[in-house]
Symmetry: D3
């Protein structure tokens, strides 16, 4: 259970409802997931977080699916269960194939492994990498 | 300074030199970076790590550049300085543009932020994400 | 479920009951939370941990509520669900307002974000910060 | 060395210089630290990050010094050396005393310790903490 | 619930069943835990992970029980609940005593604490440790 | 450079010198490493940390070398460079062989890898592991 109540549409202020409306319009779904309903306890934080997320995850130089996979990678290293569930669902909705999911897992596992080996051996950065 | 000596070609065993030769052939460069020279203190670990890395980071369902960016994402969340330097260099060598690098940073920053917000609020996973 | 049984008062040794008694007297409640009942499997570890916690979280140069918020901040970055729940409850009991909770979340989110950006960019510490 | 060049005032675009000007005016110093000069490689990311940081760390329900200490707490758990250096300098500039610094360290150490103990024992959250 | 279906024996391919058979033979039990059934969605990843785990955790210069405790230590710092549960069960099956478990917890807690203190103070590595 | 000055013997209070004397007597060396000299800025924190470390890392149900390896494992996952250097030096001083060091690295790498895989797949704990 969250450490803050989830704000329902009924309990939401006009400021919160405006953000919910933008989330619904942007995503083309009426569903508002728990993260936003928890953030809604602080309307300003909700607004700032949504506006930034919408900007960062939108179209750009990186494919939207790639952005979702990067989100999964960071969330996995941080052990954020909620984020892994929500962004894996988003990645699948954006077309992530079983083969791509498998390779994503393999790369994450490989990176975790070498992160640990490098850390344990305290390997110094090669001058060749310092540009 | 590493907690293990870096193994030079001169000091390397035949087993280690065989791995170094594969790294050189695969990458098309004579340069062997410090990570492999440190791992070379344990030839079996060097071999197992290189063989797996070569397999995981090779051609597949995900673009090699995407794999490098995923590697950077995981390494950043884990704070592995060496890994961030080496894989950012690799990503640039594989064509990561300044715009792509900027978006990679933005997505990492966004994921770190929401990972923290979700964790601090202990938001429960929506049933909608449990499939 | 914990990897160790929770020690009930009935199953507790005199050494454990003495610590439980101090926890009850210090907190002014009869309730002993699961963390202490799990630690009670090792009476010496229970005693050392409680004595130190009581000392560190007690009155001093920092306000007790500030200490609880710092505890939440560390626990969030480490993803310790139990710790976030217990210390958020403690912070609320010590008067943390909704506005303060919202700002705590915003600072944690901001710190997580810039931690990631700094890590990904491998920014070197300014000499100005080295004193 | 950073994975991106540090943007000097001479090399900065008008968009970047506008942010630098706001940083200087807000902080009352001409000095722009490396984090902002690295972020300046992506003017939009620089602007979004600075605007949010300025908002989050500004006056509010929490004391500015408390916010700096919370920032240090999160950055410590994440092992962000740069962030620890910069925010410790900021905390000292905002009046953090040696006694407060000592207690900050003690609380961080205590939280890290119990985070580990809770995690290793997989203690379940008490119903009493679920509100 | 996992982000991937758990592959039952009935749904498993011959390639997957071959790995399951090796797990069963190696462990002397018919039970295949969820981790392997989830990995089985990618037979190649399942095979590579199991072959490496079997090699690494097998007999060698370190006692198998020590390897399990090291696994618990890493998994605890990373907050991997599943891993802590599975490897604590494995350590107990390999004879970890209550006293050893208690000391394992104490060492983990101590390491977490000093990791935080060192990080917060940004202590530089002594030349004496650089060999 | 540390965020706190390193306290020399000349600058140390009687309270600090007493702890330094115990460290020297316990370790059989006159050398006091930077961690303790930094902690000495807060004599009470220095005393509490040293007394606990001496107790936890001393003789018990686990071999002192095993305790050092566990310390390295936790410190690696947390990316504590100082701790990895100091405890690897301690482990070598206590007889860690090259073969044991290699296996320690292999186990750490394996644990990091499966921690990531489990986290990314959100595998649920088997009932068999819940006792």
């Amino acid at each position: 259970m969250a450490t803050l109540p989830l704000i329902s549409d009924e309990a939401a202020s006009a400021e919160v409802l405006a953000v919910f409306a933008d989330i619904r319009a942007t995503r083309g779904t009426d569903y508002i997931n728990n993260f936003w309903r928890a953030l809604a306890n602080d309307p300003a934080l909700l607004r700032a977080t949504w506006d930034r997320l919408k900007q960062v995850m939108g179209p750009g130089a990186l494919d939207p699916l790639v952005k979702e996979m990067l989100y999964i990678a960071v969330s996995t290293a941080n052990g954020c269960d909620y984020c892994i569930h929500s962004h894996t669902a988003a990645a699948k909705a954006k077309g992530m194939s079983a083969a791509q999911h498998g390779e994503l897992l393999a790369v994450i596992g490989m990176a975790m492994q070498t992160n640990g080996l490098v850390s344990a051996m305290q390997v110094e950065v090669d001058d060749a990498f310092r540009v």
